[in-house]
């Protein structure tokens, strides 16, 4: 019923992992420590500002707002606890869904209750240009830690995710399908699924229509809609991350364009009967932002933003929630079993398209509406 962006979806995995007892057993940091990597990485990263200055220490608590679900516990564990250990400032994670509209209303009313908010990459420019956000202080936050272009004036990428092609292994035992196969319902009968809200789905349609992955943007939306309509009754659209999972678990669909976090859970839960390919995935950044007038003050929030780029913490998040590090250094030091699930791991990035934040910033609003209209009725 409400929007379900990827951010809504930072979820499931943490609790699942905890339930399954995998989390405690596999503390990756210990592995790194044993390998002697941590000190080296720490030195290489230079000045991560974890020391507590008097001003920051004054902040009574810091509220990180995300989209609820298991991301509340996951982000608290990966980012909140170590920050509290470093600075003494307690971090509370609030699953209150910091939709752009809500941030806007809060800032305009002058009563802001969130310090740092989770959002999609291009959103920080949309909101920032309306004057609703604090600028990121790149004297405190090290922009060289993230991929070029993912540090914006009002936000920085703190994790990554991808739209990937998930499929039933028994249908493609030898090699993974392409988006051409995705649209070939004669050769591969069965239903497909894509996100109802345009993102990822549009790219899948264009790729299926012969567009190369480095030529997706500026996107031809009408062409994508025509391609989506060509599937007729063979496509059903998922509207929450869990529903995309459920469709595969129930055997309702044979292929789908879904979030990588969901694909890796599916692979595990189905013992490999459902798997995914990074090939022609769409690689996307989050952006974390500070609403203007945040309660804990800018300084503490900036320090918190900076601390979230720490590789060890980002790797923890990958373990807990399946969201990739935005810091390429973190991706580079992953053990093999985590490389497989990290959308930002170099080999995986090499075969994916990278979402154009510029295109989405300018076109997203109109594109969603036209897409919804195009696929309905």
């Amino acid at each position: 019923m409400t929007r379900s962006t990827f951010n809504d979806d930072l979820v499931e995995i943490a609790a699942d992992e905890l339930r399954a007892g995998r989390l405690a057993r596999r503390d990756f940091l210990k592995v790194l420590g044993a390998a002697g990597l941590l000190p080296a990485v720490g030195a290489g990263l230079g000045t991560l500002p974890f020391g507590s200055s008097p001003a920051a220490a004054k902040a009574a608590e810091l509220v990180l707002c995300n989209f609820g679900g298991d991301a509340v516990a996951g982000m608290g564990e990966a980012w909140g606890k170590p920050f509290t250990a470093d600075t003494g400032i307690p971090v509370r994670v609030d699953g209150g869904s910091p939709l752009a509209g809500k941030i806007k209303a809060m800032v305009e009313s002058g009563s802001v209750s969130w310090d740092v908010c989770d959002g999609d990459g291009f959103l920080c420019n949309q909101l920032g240009k309306q004057g609703l956000l604090e600028e990121v202080d790149y004297g405190v936050v090290d922009k060289s830690l993230v991929r070029d272009g993912w540090a914006w004036p009002h936000g920085i990428a703190n994790y990554t995710y991808s739209f990937v092609l998930a499929y039933r292994k028994d249908m493609f035992p030898d090699k993974p399908p392409t988006y051409a196969d995705f649209f070939d319902t004669a050769k591969y009968p069965g239903k497909r699924t894509m996100w109802k809200y345009q993102m990822g789905a549009m790219e899948a349609c264009l790729l299926g229509d012969g567009v190369k992955r480095d030529a997706l943007y500026p996107a031809d939306l009408d062409r994508a809609i025509a391609k989506a309509r060509s599937l007729g009754d063979d496509v059903i659209y998922w509207e929450s991350g869990a529903s995309s999972q459920q469709m595969f678990l129930d055997g309702e669909v044979v292929m789908g364009n879904i979030w990588n976090t969901r694909a890796s859970i599916l692979e595990r839960d189905t013992k490999g009967a459902v798997t995914w390919t990074w090939n022609d995935g769409v690689f996307c950044p989050s952006s974390f932002v500070i609403p203007k007038g945040n309660p804990a003050g800018s300084e503490a929030a900036q320090k918190f933003m900076a601390s979230m780029l720490d590789p060890a913490r980002q790797i923890k998040l990958l373990q807990l929630l399946g969201n990739g590090p935005s810091n390429p250094a973190a991706s580079a030091m992953l053990p093999p079993e985590l490389r497989r699930i990290d959308p930002g791991y170099a080999d995986n990035v090499a075969v994916q398209a990278i979402r154009s934040e510029e295109w989405y910033e300018m076109n997203y609003d109109a594109a969603v509406e036209r897409w919804i209209d195009g696929i309905s009725g």
């Binding site: 019923m1 129930d250 997203y364």
Partner: protein, 281 residues
Amino acid sequence: MAKRPLSGEPYVGFLLPATLLVCGLFLIPIGQLVALSFGGLEAPTLRWYEQVAATDSIHRILLTTFRIVGLTTVIAVVLGYAVAYAMAHMGERQRLALLLCVLVPFWLSVLVRALAWLILLRNNGIVNEALLGSGLIAAPLPLVRNELGVVIGMVHYLVPYAVFPIFATMRGLDGRLMMAARSVGASPFRTFTDVYLPLTLPALFGAGLLVFVFGLGFFVTPAILGGGRVVMLSEYVSISVLQTLRWGLAAALSVVLLVATLALIAIVSRVTGVRRMLGAS
């Protein structure tokens, strides 16, 4: 009739608490939103209304919405009338058992219901598997992830909302009227059409109105059971609010929805005595 001062209305005080609450904490906030639909006070504009008037996709969505909600209302009210009728005329034990059946699903969260319908109706769901297994059909019927699924889910949600007001009215009917009709020789059918139905008609239309406006607000059910290809107005508004930040458009659509609904109420009240539903005597 000469206008009396309001102080001549002894019951005005009864209206006040609720009216103050709804005006102060609901209508004023909504008013601020409506102001948004005209672009705010600083730069008034009709652009959002022009967009509503000029956009084909919005017209299509309005049509889809009114078609689905209209169909749902008719079905839900007819089913509700039948259940209420049975409940009003059954023995005590049967009535309570039936009441149980109506009340229990009333408590089922709209989310859980939608999931349950998927389990029942999807291609490899319980209903299709049973039909296939019995040899009645050769291929699964498309029961869900389309408009049919949406109507089934919405009717299911709305029937109890129709049952209760109709049942309350039927319980309150003076049985002697019907006995009188029968005693002067009217057939059971004539008694029903000439006496019973007219007496319960206000409740029937009241229930229909309730179900209709309630249906207009639906979007969890269409979103899940429509398979992404049935988009109703509320969902479109939510997209404008949450996905695309077009609050002005969302507000303008809400105003359109409100005006349409009020017009409908006015028309229905002309046709029937439903004005009584709204308190006019």
